[in-house]
Every structure is written in structure tokens, then in C-alpha cells.
């Protein structure tokens, strides 16, 4: 550790103000110094590898696109002594009680305003104050079951609250993730024996959530309402939903009907009694809140108001996040509790008040001016940090600003680029409550500031790094006995797959299969030139052309290699091939399919196993690598597509082996089978419609069998020459070949039979059932000899064309039918009042 760092301001977490190693850090420092000079770098690398493996991400939005980044975690913990933590926890519990009373007062009798404890403007003019939150059934459910506070330690070592998180406290999932990684990093070091585990806090949290239900606590259906996969902390939502056993739902998965909230599933509407809300409250209901929101549920505010739904936290709780309130909290503590605050804020002045403004103007240069619009400390992601603010701008609208005593956060050891250093640190502490008992998480989410010279930046967008928080007890933590002694409530299972999830799974199946088919075609095309075979030059050219034309058809990237424009591309295919494979902006290309698949997969991340995420991330990485160093020749591309193909095959295997055979899986497999049968119909038609000489035909048939992975088995079954009827029988009608047409269609039929049909008992009376039955019969009844026959006048295989044409017409109907019956997302809601006539 460099000597000059000791001179920097701020309390030192490890050495205190006197420069003595604090007892609660001793054990960790022993480990750190015993590990040798390589240890920091090793810890950093291991942590990053573990995070990458577990797929821990957050999204950074840049304009329309959002990109995923690996969650940054410092491998050193922030260690807090148990006795200091107990005082902090007591302060947090008191603060939560105060904020709860204040919240109930604001949306109830408003004594704090009427008695002049808080200026009306501080409440009413804050964007988090929602008129729609008035009129709730009074006192029916605790409005603030979850609470978090961003906390720092001032130079004297005291904890101060920099901001309160009340409207949808976040980051729990990242805490879990951090602890999981730390657990593995330090598993064999004995460091964790004195650290209380987090599991029991999360069980309490789940139990508190369930206890909110206005109906039977044994039958509470709970969803986590998320804004969706592109939202910055979506990963955290999936992790938390998974851990708490909640169904992850987006606004359009839910609907208000008959005064209740429901989850739209393939089995119909399922009631929901409790919502863990991670959509910001203003976006929750386009009828009563922001009318431009597509993230909410129409009528949600009314259901909550009527008392038939509980939300954690209640709508309107964002009113407490106003920093201007900090100027009044000491008075409010007296007003509501009759006691002083245990856990204070840095001294804050609200500039809307003339007296406070005058004071601020006097001490302008020593104070930090903050706009109310941005709640700093550290949001989990995003939000700019303090920037100098022009005095005239402040005085033009002083009510929008606070002045705060400067706060210098403490510094803690961390690892940066393989070396130990000290950096400013803040921490977010969490509380859960059932309205009677509050409990503070024995840990939290700490954040290290980015190594910048300007204002401190704690958000990961600005280079901030997360840290696990260890509360070190003086005695080893043996068993968490609260786990055994306290009975907890569990959410009731929400059976049924949300329609949106089924739709995404269906498309994952289709895109994965399409990508695989594209790669197989391309690789077979390459193999013609690079591998030894007995083909003549003419035969090679013929096969190459047919494969390229098929490629255009199956990817629908017209004109591609077809028609007049295609003739040139056939002679010099590199440019077009590179585009069909790698241009992600062009619909139908390999890169496009893989992107679409990855997006669909990300939005149903909670439905896929960790192994599957890893494989998917690998596929995206392989694609990025391929696009990053664009090969200059086809040979290069051949090698580069290998990892992609292996990734897709692994994905196929995992979904087949590891996914629960629920309806979601059926939809995924349905998509895959549909795409595979369409591929097969297409390739047969393109390559075999026009007859060629016998020798050439054998060459084509061999390609067909290879692409379909059936060449070896064909040879074992038929020790004869390549005869078209035999090949057709194998590709179309062999029940034992997992790539044959009937194999796909039979599976599709069984999926169709298993999907709920509403009141209709008979599969073959549904559109889906009729389509699949008609398709399957056509294939089963076809006579291979006749399919192979050449029609004299047209000199084409009209029977074969008839069959493939029919398949190509029927199979898309299947997709359409599934979409109409199960995925049909109604049009976006439409507002009536916008165009309504103004009163006169």
C-alpha cells in the first residue's frame, strides 16, 4: 500500500483514525499477507472468472441498444464489526418505522403538512408523490415492507444515511450473487466462519412478502413485476425471482379483470395477490399514472386501492426518496416518534425555505448543492453524480435544490489491476418487515468509487465496483437457528406458463434450429472443396450451386443466390456468404437469428438452467469473435463456425436433457421441430425438383444425407447405391431417424395434443390439430417411388414438388395457429381521453 494514501481524507475502514489495525479486520489481513504478492491478482482473476461463469450481468443502455456487461465485483469484502452493525441496524429499524408512519400520514390525515412540520411543497411537488395513491383501504397492509438506505461513514467513523430507497429498493439479487462468488473464492480459507449467512434474511423477506396478501396466507400467489430484459438490472430480477421462488412477470403478462390481478398463462388466467414491484411506480398503470407507459398494467392502481392486491412497496412510497425531506427528518422524528434520530443524514438545507436558503447562501462554498431530480449516493446503475451547479440557476428555482454538508466517505482496501489499494466506499443496507417485526440483512451491497479524479462515481456505468459486506462476529456463526425456530410463509406455486414466455421459448427453438441449419449448409458447401471426395468438377459445381440456392431459401435472404441477381453471386459467393452469415442487420442471416435467439433467451432467463445460460453466452461470444475479426476467406469462416455449431448442439442437448417437460419446453421443442421440417421440405424441393444425370444425382443425395446427419445410418441400412426412393423414404418417413420429417411431425402432434385447448376436448377439431394431422398424413401416405418419378411433359418431379409445396404451405400455418391461439398479444392499449373533446 502506497504511503501517501494514508494521508488522504476520510475514515479508514481497516485502520481507523488512529492507524491501528481494527480487530475485526485482523483475521482477513492475516490471510491477505500470508498469501504472497500474487494473491491480489489471483483473487481478482478468479472473481472475474466466477462472475463470467455465472453470467452475472447488468445492462448499459446506449440510445436504443442496451449491452450486457459482466457485473464488477471487488474480491475484498467490506468488513464491519458486529457491534457497530448492531447500532446501524437499530438506527435503520427506527428510520424505517419513522418513514412508514410518515408515508401513512402523507396519504392519510396529512398532519405533518397541516401542522406545519413539513412544507406542503416538499411533499406535493415531488415527482414521487402520487395522487393516485390516495384512497387506499387505510391500514390494511404495511406500505413499506422493504427498505434500503445508502450509507457512508463520515471522517469520525459515524454512519450517515445519504439516501433512502423506498419506492422499489433494489440490489438484493446482486448481494446474493456477490456472496455466492465470495463463498467460492474464500471457501477453503476459513474466513467465512464468523460471517452470518444471508439465507435466513431472504426467507424472512419471502415470508413478509407472502404475509402481505389480502386473502389466505396459504394461497398467496406472488409475482415479481419486471420492466423486461432490456432493463439495466434485469439479471438481478431473474436471480431474485429464482431465489425467492416467484414468477417473473412483465406488464403484458398481467391483466386486471373483474377487479383482480391475473397472470395470463397458457392454461388461462391465474390470480395474483402480491406483486414484488420492480417497475418504477410512475410506470405501473397507464390509466392512472404515466399514460405513455407500456411497462404497467391497466387498472393496477385501482386493484391496489380496492385492497384486492398488495404491492411491495405500495404505490406512492417514492415520496419518501425526496432529499428535501432530510432537512425535516429530525423534526419528523419528534413529531411521530417523540425521539431523536439514531441514524442521521449529513446536515441538509432545503433551498425552497427562505431561512434555510439564507443560511446556504452564507456558507455557499463549503456546501454541496444537489438537484432534487437526481437521487445520488449510488443507484445500482446509472444516474450522474454530483456536478458543480450554477448559483443563478439554483436561485431561479431554489425549491428544486438542497444544500448538504460535504460528505467524505470512508476508504476501504480493495484490489485494482492486481494491486491492493484504498478507495472510497459506500454501502447499501436492507431491511424487511411484515409491519410488526423489522429485520435487517446481516450484510449488504457495498460500492467502491471509480478511480477518477473528478467527483466520486459509484455506479458501474462510471466504473464503480461492487463489494460484499461481511459482519464479523466475535464468535463463529454455527447454525442459523432462526431458520428452524421461526415458521415462514411460502408463496403458492403459480402453475402455468405465461403466454409471453411460451412465445419466447417457441422462437428460441425456431431461431436455434434455423441457425444450426444455416451452419450445416455452409459447412457442407465448404467441405465440397476442402475434403477429399470422388466428385467430378462438374458435380462439385452443381452441388455447390444447389446448396447456395437452398441457403437463400431457408434463410429467406432474397435475392441472394436465386434469380438473375443471384447468378453473379453464385460465381463469386464470398461477399454474399459473408453477409448471409455475419450481417446482423439483415433479416434472416445467421447473425440475425443468433441475436434474436439470444434476446428471446434473455427475456426468459429465469426459465433456463445456469448451464444453459453458459452455453448461450458462449454462442454469443463466438459470434462476436467471428464478427470482430471478419475472416478474409471462406476457409477461415469454416473454422470459425465450428464453435458456433458445437454451442448450438450443446444447447439442443441441454434443452432436451435438462429442461422440465412443462408446456414451456413443449413450445421450445415445437419451434425447433417446425423449423427443422421446413428446412427439410425446402432442401428437398430445391435439390431434387429438377432431375439430373444419375451420377450427379448420387452426388446430390450424398450431400443431402450428410447435411441431415443420416449418411452413415443410410449406408448401414441400405448397402446399395444411392437410389432416390430409398433416400426419400429415409429422409421423409423413417420413424427411427430423429432428423426425418415424420419424426418431427409426430413430436409436433404430441406437443399439440398436450397444449391446453380450452373447452375443446378433441385435438383434431382445433386448427393446430388439423394442420398437424393433415401434414403428417400427407407425408406418411406419400409413395417414395411415385415421389421420385419424373413427370414426362414438364420433366420435373411434380409429385415431389406437390408434397413439398403442400408442406411449405401447411407448416407456416402451424406457426400462425400457435401464435393466434396462445401468443396473441392484444394491440397496445389505446387511450380514450387523449382525443376527447375539451370542456367548454
Amino acid at each position: 500500500m502506497a504511503g501517501e494514501e494514508v494521508m488522504q481524507p476520510g475514515y479508514r475502514e481497516d485502520f481507523g483514525n488512529e492507524g491501528n489495525l481494527q480487530p475485526h479486520w485482523r483475521k482477513f489481513f492475516d490471510f491477505l499477507y500470508a498469501g504472497g504478492p500474487e494473491l491480489p491478482q489471483r483473487l481478482e482473476e478468479d472473481a472475474r472468472r466466477l462472475l463470467r461463469e455465472s453470467g452475472a450481468t447488468y445492462n448499459v443502455r446506449m440510445g436504443q441498444v442496451s449491452r450486457r456487461h459482466i457485473w464488477p465485483l471487488d474480491p475484498l469484502p467490506l468488513i464491519v464489526a458486529a457491534d457497530a452493525w448492531e447500532r446501524l441496524a437499530a438506527g435503520l429499524i427506527q428510520r424505517h418505522r419513522l418513514l412508514t408512519l410518515l408515508l401513512q400520514d402523507i396519504y392519510g390525515p396529512r398532519t405533518c403538512i397541516h401542522e406545519g412540520v413539513v412544507p406542503a411543497e416538499v411533499i406535493y411537488s415531488w415527482s414521487g408523490y402520487l395522487l393516485a395513491a390516495h384512497g387506499q383501504v387505510p391500514g390494511s397492509t404495511p406500505p413499506l415492507p422493504f427498505y434500503a438506505a445508502d450509507i457512508g461513514r463520515d471522517p469520525s467513523g459515524h454512519f450517515l444515511v445519504l439516501s433512502d430507497r423506498t419506492q422499489a429498493p433494489s440490489g438484493h439479487g446482486y448481494v446474493l450473487q456477490n456472496r455466492r462468488v465470495m463463498g467460492r473464492l474464500y471457501a477453503s480459507t476459513g474466513q467465512l466462519t464468523h460471517i452470518p449467512p444471508l439465507l435466513s434474511f431472504f426467507r424472512t423477506m419471502r415470508s413478509d412478502l407472502v404475509s402481505l396478501t389480502p386473502f389466505s396466507k396459504q394461497e398467496a400467489h406472488v409475482v415479481l413485476l419486471t420492466p423486461g430484459a432490456t432493463y439495466e438490472t434485469h439479471y438481478e430480477h431473474t436471480l431474485l425471482a429464482h431465489f425467492l421462488g416467484l414468477t417473473l412477470a412483465q406488464g403484458d403478462d398481467l391483466a386486471v379483470r373483474n377487479g383482480r390481478l391475473w397472470l395470463k398463462t397458457l392454461n388461462g388466467l391465474m390470480p395474483v395477490e402480491v406483486v414484488l414491484r420492480r417497475v418504477d411506480e410512475a410506470w405501473c398503470d397507464p390509466l392512472e399514472l404515466r399514460d405513455d407507459s407500456l411497462l404497467g398494467v391497466v387498472g393496477l392502481a385501482q386493484v391496489a386501492r380496492s385492497g384486492r392486491l398488495a404491492m411491495a412497496n405500495a404505490l406512492g412510497s417514492g415520496v419518501l426518496e425526496n432529499m428535501a425531506l432530510h432537512a425535516y427528518l429530525p423534526h419528523l422524528a419528534q413529531h411521530f416518534l417523540g425521539t431523536p434520530l439514531l441514524l442521521e443524514n449529513p446536515r441538509t438545507l432545503w433551498l425552497g425555505d427562505p431561512a434555510q436558503r439564507a443560511e446556504a447562501l452564507e456558507r455557499w462554498d463549503e456546501l454541496t448543492i444537489l438537484p432534487l431530480a437526481c437521487n445520488p449516493a449510488f443507484p445500482i446503475t446509472g444516474c450522474a453524480t454530483d456536478t458543480p451547479i450554477d448559483r443563478d440557476k439554483v436561485l431561479a428555482a431554489p425549491q428544486r435544490f438542497v444544500a448538504r454538508a460535504p460528505f467524505i466517505p470512508s476508504r476501504a482496501p480493495c484490489i485494482r489491476s492486481g494491486a491492493l489499494c484504498h478507495a472510497p466506499v459506500l454501502l447499501r443496507a436492507y431491511l424487511t418487515s411484515d409491519g410488526q417485526h423489522a429485520r435487517v440483512m446481516p450484510g449488504g451491497l457495498a460500492r467502491v468509487a471509480a478511480p477518477t479524479t473528478g467527483p466520486l462515481a459509484f455506479s458501474p456505468n462510471h466504473g464503480g465496483v461492487a463489494k460484499d459486506v461481511w459482519i464479523v462476529a466475535t464468535q463463529p456463526v454455527l447454525v442459523d437457528d432462526t431458520l428452524i425456530s421461526t415458521p415462514t410463509l411460502d408463496p403458492a406455486p403459480l402453475v402455468g406458463v405465461p403466454s409471453r414466455v411460451a412465445e419466447n421459448l417457441f422462437w428460441i427453438g425456431r431461431y436455434a434450429e434455423r441457425a444450426e441449419g444455416t451452419i450445416r449448409l455452409f459447412r457442407e458447401f465448404m467441405a465440397l472443396d476442402t475434403e477429399e471426395n470422388s466428385l467430378s468438377r462438374h458435380q462439385r459445381t452443381l452441388c455447390r450451386r444447389l446448396l447456395l440456392i437452398t441457403l437463400t431459401h431457408v434463410t429467406a435472404t432474397y435475392p441472394g443466390f436465386t434469380g438473375k441477381e443471384g447468378a453473379y453471386a453464385l460465381d463469386d459467393p464470398f461477399a454474399e456468404l459473408a453477409s448471409v452469415l455475419l450481417n446482423s442487420e439483415r433479416a434472416g442471416t445467421l447473425a440475425f437469428s443468433l441475436r434474436a435467439m439470444s434476446q428471446a433467451a434473455f427475456s426468459v432467463r429465469d426459465r433456463l438452467s445456469t448451464d444453459t445460460w453458459e452455453v448461450l453466452d458462449g454462442i454469443v461470444e463466438a459470434l462476436d469473435a467471428l464478427r470482430g475479426r471478419l475472416p478474409h476467406n471462406l476457409g477461415g469462416m469454416f473454422w470459425e463456425t465450428g464453435p458456433l455449431l458445437r454451442g448450438l448442439t450443446a444447447f439442443g442437448g441441454l434443452t432436451w436433457e435438462n429442461m422440465n417437460r412443462d408446456l414451456g419446453w413443449r413450445f421450445l421443442d415445437l419451434g425447433r421441430r417446425l423449423e427443422r421440417s421446413m428446412f427439410l421440405a425446402q432442401i428437398l424441393e430445391t435439390t431434387l425438383a429438377e432431375p439430373v444425370e444419375e451420377g450427379d444425382e448420387a452426388a446430390i443425395l450424398e450431400r443431402l444425407l450428410t447435411i441431415n446427419d443420416s449418411l452413415t445410418t443410410f449406408r448401414m441400412q441400405f448397402r446399395t447405391a444411392m437410389e432416390l426412393p430409398l433416400v426419400l423414404e429415409k429422409l421423409l418417413q423413417d420413424d427411427t431417424d430423429p432428423r426425418s420429417m415424420v419424426f418431427q411431425l409426430t413430436l409436433m402432434e404430441s406437443h399439440a395434443a398436450a397444449i391446453p385447448r380450452g373447452s375443446e376436448q378433441n385435438l383434431y377439431r382445433t386448427h393446430l390439430g388439423r394442420v398437424v394431422f393433415e401434414t403428417l398424413s400427407a407425408v406418411r401416405l406419400a409413395d417414395p417411388e411415385r415421389l421420385a418419378a419424373i413427370t414426362p411433359f414438364s420433366n420435373r418431379r411434380e409429385q415431389l414438388i406437390g408434397l413439398t409445396g403442400r408442406l411449405r404451405k401447411l407448416l407456416p400455418l402451424f406457426s400462425e395457429s400457435a401464435s393466434n391461439s396462445y401468443f396473441r398479444h392484444a394491440d397496445p392499449p389505446h387511450h380514450l381521453f387523449r382525443a376527447s373533446r375539451s370542456p367548454r
Partner: protein
């Protein structure tokens, strides 16, 4: 004392079937010291699956309903029977100086503090130095509040042209101030913005006017649809209404439905539907004075 029967019909015709609709309506006339709602009926076709009534922040009765049956036409018909009494009006020149109604004054009274939300900005009404300047000529120091507010009301009536179609529900006050014309909602917002810019509490009122005037009386502007005006909080007196569209203090021909900070708090009908594409809206309001029982 006058009895009125009010029938307010809102009709939406959709281009395509609507499968689901959620609506909230502010159609239930308030009870006030000078007004009693004797009966209220809401008739919605198609029939709603659920209908709830609740009281909002401002004390208005809000009806919320869901329609779950496919329809191409939605008809919301409200029928009210309201008894209107003459307002209890103070002598305008004897009311307290306007400055005493300002919010945030050191000696501000409890009634002003309780209503202070009406002195703050709201979604459609910002406060600005320009709006304060606009009001200033009518608010010299110490002028009695009601006299000053009446002068402002009459000036808006005099200087602004009433012109249906010149604005929409979303028109901003600045534009109204600029173009010097608008409809009742714009004039109410303008006056509210001017008063709030002076620090006073002003609220928006959504209501009706008697459709056909009694013999010998002029027809008031805005009588064929819902009407809007404003009120100002007078310390020691309470809310006093003013109608800038007609330049008067409402007497017995105005019926209040709902009050709020501005239009966005009390739109008569607000809804979100699934499907429907385009819609055509028609509104009809009929306010009929019922014959007074013969007095012996």
C-alpha cells in the same frame, strides 16, 4: 333554490371491436354548501363487469369500471338530480386583502395551509413571472381578494376571445396567453396560473351550465358541453367561484361536478381500451331546470 336534472351522455364509436376497456369517470356531482346531489345514476353500455366508486384526494366521487365484452360502441350516460342554492357570497370589497391568502406567509392561516396543494404547480398549470405580471394590474397592494379576483375574471372575459376548436385538452397556458383565445378550460387554467404565481390557492372546477336560459336571461357560453371555471381560497371565507368564460361570479346556473388542481385531475371520462383502433367521440349535455313546486 333551483332543482336541475342533468343528463350527460358520452359516446365512443370504434373502428374495430374493443375487447376490454378500463375507465374512470368524474361524473358524480359533488355535495357543497350551496349544492346537493339528490340522485345520481350511471348507465354504461355494454354493461360493465365491475363498477366501483371511490373518493379521490380532492373529495370527488370517482366511478371506475371494466368492460370485458367485445363492443364497437361505448355509451356512458350519467343522470343527476341536483339542488342548487345561491352561493354565500361575501361583499367583494369587504374581503381580506389578497396578500393574506398567499401561501407560505409567516402568518399563514390553517385553512390556507390545509389547501396549499392548490398554490403549487400542477401538470397543466405552471407558475411563472409572466403569469404573475399578467395578474398584477388587478392585484394592487391591499386590494380585497374577491374584488381583485373578480377584476381578473372580467378582464379575461373582456380581452380573450371564446373560440371552440382553437385549443385542445393539452393546450398550454403560454399559448393561450399568446393567442388570446381559447375555451373555458384554457381560461380557467390561465386564471389559476396567474393566481398561483402570486402565491394564492386556486382550484379548477369541472361542471355544467344550465342549457337553456330562463325567459329574459342570456344564454351562457359553454352550455352545450361540460363547462369549467375556477375558485380562489379566501381566508376566513372559503372557496369562492369565478367564471372567466362568462366574466361572472357563478350564481345558481352553475353546477359543480368535481374539483382539482387542473383538468388532468378531473377529466369527465378517461379510459384505456384494447383494440378499437380509431374512435369517434360525441358528447351531449342537457341541463334542465325542473319546475319549482308552487309556493303557497
Amino acid at each position: 333554490m333551483i332543482d336541475y336534472r342533468i343528463i350527460h351522455t358520452t359516446r365512443y364509436r370504434y373502428g374495430e371491436p374493443v375487447t376490454i376497456g378500463h375507465n374512470r369517470v368524474h361524473l358524480r356531482p359533488l355535495d357543497l354548501p350551496w349544492q346537493r346531489c339528490r340522485r345520481f345514476e350511471l348507465d354504461v353500455r355494454p354493461r360493465p363487469a365491475t363498477l366501483n366508486t371511490f373518493t379521490d384526494f380532492f373529495g370527488n366521487g370517482v366511478d371506475y369500471f371494466e368492460i370485458l365484452e367485445s363492443h364497437r360502441e361505448l355509451v356512458i350516460k350519467s343522470s343527476s338530480f341536483v339542488t342548487r342554492l345561491p352561493p354565500i357570497l361575501p361583499n367583494p370589497d369587504a374581503t381580506p386583502a389578497w396578500e393574506s391568502g398567499r401561501q407560505g406567509q409567516s402568518g399563514e392561516g390553517g385553512d390556507v395551509r390545509r389547501q396549499s396543494i392548490f398554490a403549487l404547480e400542477s401538470p397543466m398549470v405552471a407558475r411563472s413571472p409572466e403569469l404573475a405580471d399578467f395578474a398584477r394590474p388587478d392585484f394592487p397592494p391591499e386590494r380585497p381578494l374577491v374584488a381583485a379576483a373578480l377584476a381578473l375574471t372580467q378582464r379575461i372575459h373582456r380581452e380573450f376571445r371564446y373560440q371552440p376548436g382553437s385549443t385542445t385538452v393539452a393546450t398550454h397556458i403560454d399559448q393561450v396567453l399568446e393567442q388570446r383565445c381559447g375555451v373555458c378550460q384554457d381560461f380557467a387554467h390561465l386564471a389559476i396560473g396567474a393566481l398561483r404565481s402570486l402565491g394564492l390557492c386556486a382550484r379548477y372546477i369541472s361542471g355544467y351550465l344550465e342549457t337553456d336560459p330562463p325567459p329574459g336571461m342570456a344564454r351562457l357560453e359553454g352550455a352545450d358541453a361540460s363547462h369549467a371555471w375556477f375558485a380562489v381560497l379566501v381566508p376566513g371565507v372559503g372557496w369562492v367561484d369565478f367564471d372567466p368564460t362568462n366574466g361572472i361570479i357563478p350564481a345558481q346556473r352553475h353546477i359543480t361536478v368535481a374539483v382539482g388542481r387542473d383538468y388532468t385531475d378531473v377529466p369527465p371520462v378517461k379510459g384505456v381500451v384494447l383494440g378499437g383502433r380509431e374512435h369517434v367521440l360525441s358528447v351531449a349535455v342537457d341541463v334542465l331546470r325542473l319546475p319549482t313546486p308552487e309556493t303557497p
